[in-house]
Amino acid sequence: MDGIHDLGGMQGFGPVPWSASEPSFHASWEGRVFALASLAIAAGVANPDAFRHAIERLDPVTYLTAGYYGRWLAATELLMKERAGKTLSPLASPGTLRAVDGAPRFALGDRVRTRRLHPSGHTRLPRYARGLRGTIALVHPSFVFPDTNAHERGENPEHVYAVRFAARELWGEGAEEGVQVYVDCFEGYLEPDVP
């Protein structure tokens, strides 16, 4: 989904609120939010990918102004409404690591190009890294594929790769020198980069 959550490279947000005089200690409610979210996921209200996608579907103003807790609450309400009356099915197996048949398609050092996807549903390929050329920097294990799992269309696990992009490839001539950006890409997001 080309939503407000996909913030990489967006401009206009100003300085990182890092050394604010207002303390940013961890409030105890953060732990409660985490615990409740874990319980809800375990009870089958939503799997973690559907949870993330619910947050992504909040309207942009709510997303940017509600804060962490507000976003989580709003997403939970949305999911409860959508799932009212349906039977819940607790998570089949914990975690996201899954075995796949077959070897990884790509190897360290391979040149790849990310697809120019624009799905309306959940995806984990950020907009700033689509349709661009990179190099396989790490070959990771295989994981549940969020793009289908978020919509209960199956786990369909795939290998994941850390793809290295030169900053200039991502941002053009104004890019900072000496910067590489690594994005973890599912195999389905990639195709070989043929000259």
Partner: protein, 111 residues
Amino acid sequence: MPDRPLDTTGPVAPPRRNGELVFGAPWESRLFGLTMALHRAGVFRWDEFREHLIAAIGEWEREPGASAWRYYERWQVALERLLAAKKLCSPVDLDGRTRALAARPAGHDHR
């Protein structure tokens, strides 16, 4: 060796998760900072504060149903008593200032 007043374990120790302090609200961290600042300025010895904290926690433990457990409420009771004992801040002064702050127009950001 740096001064390390805080208990890291036991009933008197402030709540932590993975080594980091946990506060339920900004005022708690403010209170914590105020206490440490006063201690570092030499206003009291840490064991003096700690005794009051132990006493305040003990009072709650004797009547646990009377109020919800909140660590930093116990801490605040302890600090107020310590400052009163040292004649640095009387309950009357504190009540008065609290009332004055409460009388501010609505919309003021209470930390």
